[in-house]
Every structure is written in structure tokens, then in C-alpha cells.
Amino acid sequence: MTFKALTAIALVAGLSAPLAMAGGADDDTMVINDETEMVTKTAAPAHLDGAVDEVISGWHFRSDETQSLQLDDFDNPGMIFVDQAMDVWNTAEGSEGKACADCHNDPAETMVGVKATYPKWNEEAGEVRTVQMQVNDCRVNRMGAEAWKYDAGKAVSMEAMISLHSRGMPMSVAIDGPAAAMWEKGKEMYYTRTGQLELSCANCHEDNYGNYIRADHLSQGQINGFPVYRLKNAKLNGVHSRFKGCVRDTRAETYSPGSEDFIALELYVASRSNGLSVESPSVRN
């Protein structure tokens, strides 16, 4: 290769690099296992009127290499944990000698669409429940087993396995009726500045998505892909743990995973994802 050609290549590389860094969401399309086409960009739900016009999956803000990991179940490291949860699903535990499978049979039939509607108002309990809370309710009251710690390994793997059976379905979390009070609480948290840095969720994920905060590419903070496999810690991460990380980054005292505050926030943030496909388990950096 001549010197001239080399220089030309160097020039092109030099020019394209900053362009690639500049940006908002890319225009890739997500098709999982060459068959399931996913909705990763769609018109924002009505309650976001005036805030954002379009809701965009966090997938669009990641590099091509990270994106591709989510396109094939073999490449998706989150599936390791889904497999582990499937083993737990079939294993009897607790004083009643029951496994999840004894009541709920095959999750591929019984858990379809569950994740898309959670967090959800539970009439009997009179509270808004997340998937993990519902699982723990089963464990304690029906199996006579110990409740899992919130967002701990097994709990988050089970949530991912249950969520997988809603993959490709649009998020449709109910925000009216008895859940409305929790939703309002979550909304207020979303827009309230906290911590020494005085940042609200909205400052990063509504006002500045697509921009960089130091080396991190800000997304809209959509949670349609949770639990998410993160390359940084090589495991599945629950949404409350992610919230905790964000609140900590504002240099505030955080709430605990599983607390009422985070349940409210999860309900509100999940409702911002309404219309996007459930992606769990997704892959991010």
C-alpha cells in the first residue's frame, strides 16, 4: 500500500471517529434469533405528552458489538441465568415440597405476557407488586420456603426467566385505578433532584439522552430490557439495583432494592416504556 493511501485511510478514520461519538440513538433494527422483530422505537405513551415524543430502547445507545450480543440467544450471556432459573423452577423447595412447576406447569405457557404488565396492582394484597414480590409471595405462602433477597442472584434470574416469555410483547403497565397513587409517587421521584449533584432522573434521561456524561452514553433509561446482563459485572442486574446505582451517582443516600420508593419508581419508569417490546434479558455495557 502506498503512503498516500495510508494517509487517506487515517484521515477517514480520524473524521469518522468523532461522528460516531456525537450521537443519539442509531437506526439499527433489532430482530432476535432471525425471527422476532422488536419494537425499539415508538411513539411515547400519552402520559409523556410534552416530555418526549418518542420512546427509544437503550439498545440504540450501545455499540454495534454490544447490540449484536442480544440478537442471538446463544450469544446472549443472560441466557445462562435463564437456564439456571429454569432448573430452580422445576426443583421442589420449602415445607410444602412444591416447585414452581407444580402449580404453574410450563412457564412458556403460563408466564406469557406477565412481565409486560408488571409492576401491577394486586387486589388481594392491596399493594403494587413487582415480579420478584409475586415470586416471593409464592415462595413464602405456597411453598413454605424462604423469601429471596431482593435483586439477589436467584431472584433476578427467576425474573429474567419469567420475563423471557413476554419477549417481543409491548410493555403495557396500567397506571390508572388503584395503582395511580403509587404511579404519582414514582413520577414525583423521577422529577425530583436529589443528592449533592442535584440531579433528577429526568436531567439525564429526558433532557440529555444521546449525550455523554463523561464516558457514558446516556439513554432514555427505559427498563423494558430488565433484568439486564451487564458486561461490566458479567451478571444479570435487577432494575432496583440499577436505580440504586443511579441515585448513588447523584451522591445521594439511596433507597433499598425492594423498598416502596423503588417499587413506585419502577412502576412509573416502566410506564414510560409502554409500547416498547419487552427485551429481557437484554445486554448492555
Binding site: F74, D75, P77, I80, D83, Q84, A234
Partner: protein, 109 residues
Amino acid sequence: MASGVKPRVKVPKKAGAGDAITIKTLISHKMESGQRKDKSGNVIPRSIINRFTCDFNGQNVVDVTLEPAISTNPYIEFESTVPEAGEFKFTWYDDDGDVYETTKKIAIG
């Protein structure tokens, strides 16, 4: 046996004779490096997969030495030519002496 170890392999069901195919393998394994310490300051002993091999009808395709810097759940992807119908045999060797094996058949067509 280290806990939670499960090998996975993805091989096309068939290929043209002489074609190069892509093989993907992944084994769930904690790959403890031996460099970390627990809360009381004791070194957590090394426990990794140290070797991976793939053979096709008895002929070696790839033989990999894995080192402690390789992260958890090692994923190995490689290409192989398929001269004839037969069977791929995959073998992972654990530090603790365990050997995990799995096989995949491939047809010509």
C-alpha cells in the same frame, strides 16, 4: 465438580462438503482467577477451565489453553471445515480434574 457448570454448543445441522462453518461454544463456569481475596484477606484459590479442545471424527480442530485472565463463562467461537458427515466432540478441562464433554453431529447436504 465446580457448581453450575454447563457446556453449550451451537453447530449447524448440516453443511456442504468442504464448507467452513462457524462453531460457537460457551461453558458456564466461574473462572476464579486465584488473584482475588475474600473479606478476611485469604486468597480465593484458582479454579478455571484450563484447556478446551474440539475434534472432528477423531481429528483435532482446535486446542486452546485458557489462562486466569479469561472472564467468567468463557465463550469460544471458531471455524472448521467439514470434509464429511460426522461428529464434533468438545472437551473442557477443569482445574479440579473434571472433564466436561459434549458432542454434535453434522450431516452433509
